[in-house]
Symmetry: C2
Subunit: 368 residues, 2 copies
């Protein structure tokens, strides 16, 4: 049974909460101490609509950590094993953030606003505390703050149509993971071609809470004939697409290599990264467990509210950390971490849910 969520100021509302409520939000999760909608009509209705139309998502919980000052670039490189030397203003980069042991602290998207100014658009951990402490203890010349910036995502196959109507043709000429500044009611807002779905779209970094509801209304008015709806990151679509979730599919106990993020790690050249030494070692040996797509057989799985053990006979060989019934693929799709002895495609395993054992199979690819 789905429990209720007790509201309090500590679970921060967003500049779009009024719109989200008027659109009939049914459930939330809590992410970075903030409300993140999870269901409007139903997870499956939302899923079909996302794949066919266009949705507006309140992802304010993707809080920003702003670095500003002469040492901003140096601090950025301290945080991540990705080599940032070639990063250009106007570029977004997915940057695993690691501690001194190479353990994942967050998996944000970073935006380079200028040579001395970055936004880190964070997943669910208080990365601000990590960054502030390092900046202070290393006496770097950089200001670190959480600005009043709340991302609003426009996702789905009709996202270009909607964004063009509100921000103009130049906005939709953006390439993937690029951003520009576009006007809304006299304010320059960062608009990026990015987002937490495989359906394409944009994220608008709404700077100034007061602009939240005016932009929300403008998008819904402009998109009425497109059947635009309020939506949210979808638990089925993101697992189909293999989009990882920090705290679900990986934690501080995992390296980026275990998460299959080796292409975002340049351990030879990312000089200055705090976790580089530890990851150099890992990159030589390779991980002995890694994220894999997993299919779970049989009827609809229960809610994946805990790590499910993966078993080969009596042997514990990994765990499933996200799972959902996929209407489009007519099976249960899942994300797991599997030991190398059992990570080859088509390996047959059993998965232990809170409602009993199910046959599962390692897949070659996610469902995209």
């Amino acid at each position: 049974m789905t429990p209720l969520l007790s509201l309090a100021r500590r679970l921060r509302r967003t500049p779009f909460s009024e719109g989200v409520e008027a659109a009939g939000v049914r459930a939330y999760t809590v992410y970075n101490h903030m409300l993140l909608p999870t269901v409007f009509e139903s997870v499956e209705e939302d899923y079909h609509h996302l794949k066919q139309k266009v949705q507006v998502w309140d992802v304010s919980c993707e809080r920003q950590v702003e670095l500003r000052g002469p040492d901003a670039g140096k601090l950025m490189q301290l945080l991540t094993p990705r080599d940032l030397r070639g990063m250009l203003p106007g570029q977004c980069l997915y940057v695993p953030m690691v501690d001194e042991t190479g353990g994942m602290l967050n998996d944000p998207v970073a935006l380079k606003l200028s040579e001395d100014r970055f936004w880190i658009s964070i997943a669910d951990s208080d990365l601000l505390l990590w960054v502030k402490a390092l900046a202070n203890a290393r006496q770097l010349e950089v200001l670190v703050e959480e600005p009043d910036v709340s991302p609003l995502a426009v996702q789905g196959p009709l996202a270009d149509d909607l964004v063009e109507r509100v921000f103009g043709a130049d906005a939709v000429s953006l390439r993937f993971f690029r951003f520009g500044f576009f006007q809304f009611q006299g304010h320059d807002l960062v608009v990026a071609r990015s987002g937490y779905s495989r359906q394409g779209g944009f994220e608008i970094y709404v700077e100034g809470s007061d602009l939240g509801m005016p932009l929300w209304h403008a998008l819904f008015e402009a998109g009425a004939d497109l059947d635009v709806r309020a939506g949210c990151p979808n638990g089925i679509e993101r697992v189909e697409g293999g989009l990882l979730s920090y705290g679900n599919d990986m934690t501080r106990w995992n390296t980026p290599f275990e998460c299959g993020l080796e292409r975002f790690c340049n351990v030879q050249t990312a000089i200055g990264c705090l976790g580089r030494d530890a990851l150099l070692r890992v990159s030589m040996d390779g991980p002995n467990r890694q994220i894999r797509p997993i299919e779970i057989e049989g009827e609809r799985v229960p809610v994946c509210d805990r790590a499910w053990r993966l078993l080969a006979g009596d042997e514990h060989v990994g765990q499933v950390t996200s799972a959902a019934w996929s209407p489009d693929f007519d099976t249960n799709v899942a994300i797991g971490m599997v030991r190398m002895t059992h990570w080859d495609p088509d390996t047959e395993l059993m998965v232990e849910t809170q409602e009993g054992l199910r046959p599962a199979r390692v897949q070659e690819n996610f469902w995209i």
Copy 2:
């Protein structure tokens, strides 16, 4: 309308979740990325029972940050403006934690296990990241980790009876904010006289998740004739008692002085505290706003899910951040932050809730 909470692995279950569910938990909040029960029968039923009997609370979400090593004490003092030189093993201390500007990062209880080992029992922020970064950047000889320790609280007027039955007479001879090691099924567990209520009681720091449900069952079996029930921090009782909540009543934007925590700040002698210089300045000038008990007139207030502005005429003079209808005091009790121009007892203000304006009055004392 109370929304639903979507469950996922990211919202961690606890060693006691099975017991909490069997006891009929109705609602949760999320605290340190973990489930914290908020309602069993109803907030008011739970409140009356807490004040009359004894409850067992799953407060696993009070995660521990463990410091261990020769520099553990030095690191502790770096974190807080409270002078820790006199702290003894076996002692708990409430220690505001501040950043370099004196802004509150957390308001934990620290336990000194030995000269080179501490647990910091944290409120809702990832303090681990702050502490780990400082330890690393300052090259301190200390290990910083989140151990497998989950507190279980026993609270209420009959708490001594119950704890004596399970842990023996020595446990109930503990003075307030002292702890000792007491046996349960062959394991030495930290038991402290402490807890997040004004009704008295204990917190048992359950080390090893496997011990969780055996201890849960032992407490319920031992306390059957005491009418022991599953409970949780109570939103009415804690506001009556003036127990602050990090994220609700204070944030990083507040100093300990604004929170009325000056008695836990020894800015003259807490040498080594990172935020000491900033707080020395604040201690000389005094804060210009501070936490106050606030009474809100009229019928039951709505859920305080956002900061409510406090107004004196048109002037914005503060905010209410927690509020509840108190059956025992037959009024709405609240916690607010009020500007010094309006913080004297009996000052009459208006408070702006999401359902309109209400008369409010600054109080001299909390309802204890």
